[in-house]
Chain length 195, copies 2
Amino acid sequence: MARREATRAAILQAAWDLAHEVGLTGFSLRELAGRVGMRAPSLYEYFDGKDAIYDAMFAAGSREFLAAIRGALGGDVTDPRSALRAAMHAFLDFATSDPVRFQLLFQRSIAGWEPSADAYAPAVEAYELSRTSLAAHGISGRRRLDLWTALVSGLAHQQVANDPGGTRWYDLVDDAVDVFLSHVGTTTDPDAIRP
Amino acid sequence: MARREATRAAILQAAWDLAHEVGLTGFSLRELAGRVGMRAPSLYEYFDGKDAIYDAMFAAGSREFLAAIRGALGGDVTDPRSALRAAMHAFLDFATSDPVRFQLLFQRSIAGWEPSADAYAPAVEAYELSRTSLAAHGISGRRRLDLWTALVSGLAHQQVANDPGGTRWYDLVDDAVDVFLSHVGTTTDPDAIRP
DNA sequence: CAAGGCTACCGAACAGCGTTCGGAGAACCG
DNA sequence: CGGTTCTCCGAACGCTGTTCGGTAGCCTTG
């Protein structure tokens, strides 16, 4: 029923709160249960275990990521430079606005755990969305896309890891897009970086 | 004495072996002790605890990283393009040749743990070395350096995470250097990306 | 050689972890 | 009302990192 779903949501919210306070792997199920007025074993009525809770958190973050990318690419910008800037800004905004969520989604930081295919699906869709959007602006080919993902994830990773709360790498986004665009250019050769 | 230092080294080697087999956080002290013919409490004669073992592993990896960077930058190449390619190749070689070590050094993947200043020092020295080397080739200024580190770490991160054992991002190194160099150029303005 | 100190090692135990099991009580449905 | 289902929990299991107390053996010193 709705009752059950509401309890699941409450548990997930408490898990996010705890993750922000003490880190993704820093809280125990007894602690989490306490936040929602339960004992640890009762959580197993709603999730198969701690990994399943991480999976549900990942699924939620993954959907939020897809929404963020969708929002950034949804505008009717015709010029490639603006589109790429919007995409990169969206990614870094997403990363910096919740570093814990970024850590869960993009760094393999929970030992021995990996997300289920279902939880991962929205992230895959976001990647496909970016791919088609770049292609629409004349940027295609695996090598170009790989260089793009490396640049975006590199900026985000450095920002989150080495200047949390700041804008040191965030401020490089526009320049990074210029660097990328001017040299990569637009071509139909799928295996080239330079036109 | 030497006896004590040899046992410490044996424990560290066993720790690396286990980390490669079951992951950085996937082994217990009882398991580790068994590898060197001891019980868990005896390890405390040589290390203050599991965190101290991670710290010693980090220190070793950090020294290896400094050696790798030193080796790449030590040659007497005069042309900036070759120097940057050598540096980036060295970083990706270092990352892919031992992903577990890369994970320990460059991803905050052990919950609630961070390296001591002593263990970190060689990595700082490696960064400084890169900085002066780039400056010697006319590339200076924080923004340019930050873009460089983002590019290097982005390629390495993507390679290790999404194509372990392959060369998908590794093969982009030469192009990435070209992309970086052609647009960043060489200037003395410390706050510009483009000359 | 003998005595004492120091090093290396370990058994037992502690608190905490994720997880399982069996049962108690409440809620729902015929 | 009777019976089923759902929700919750106490107790316990095996595991973890870590601490403590004690016991051998080695090394140095008188």
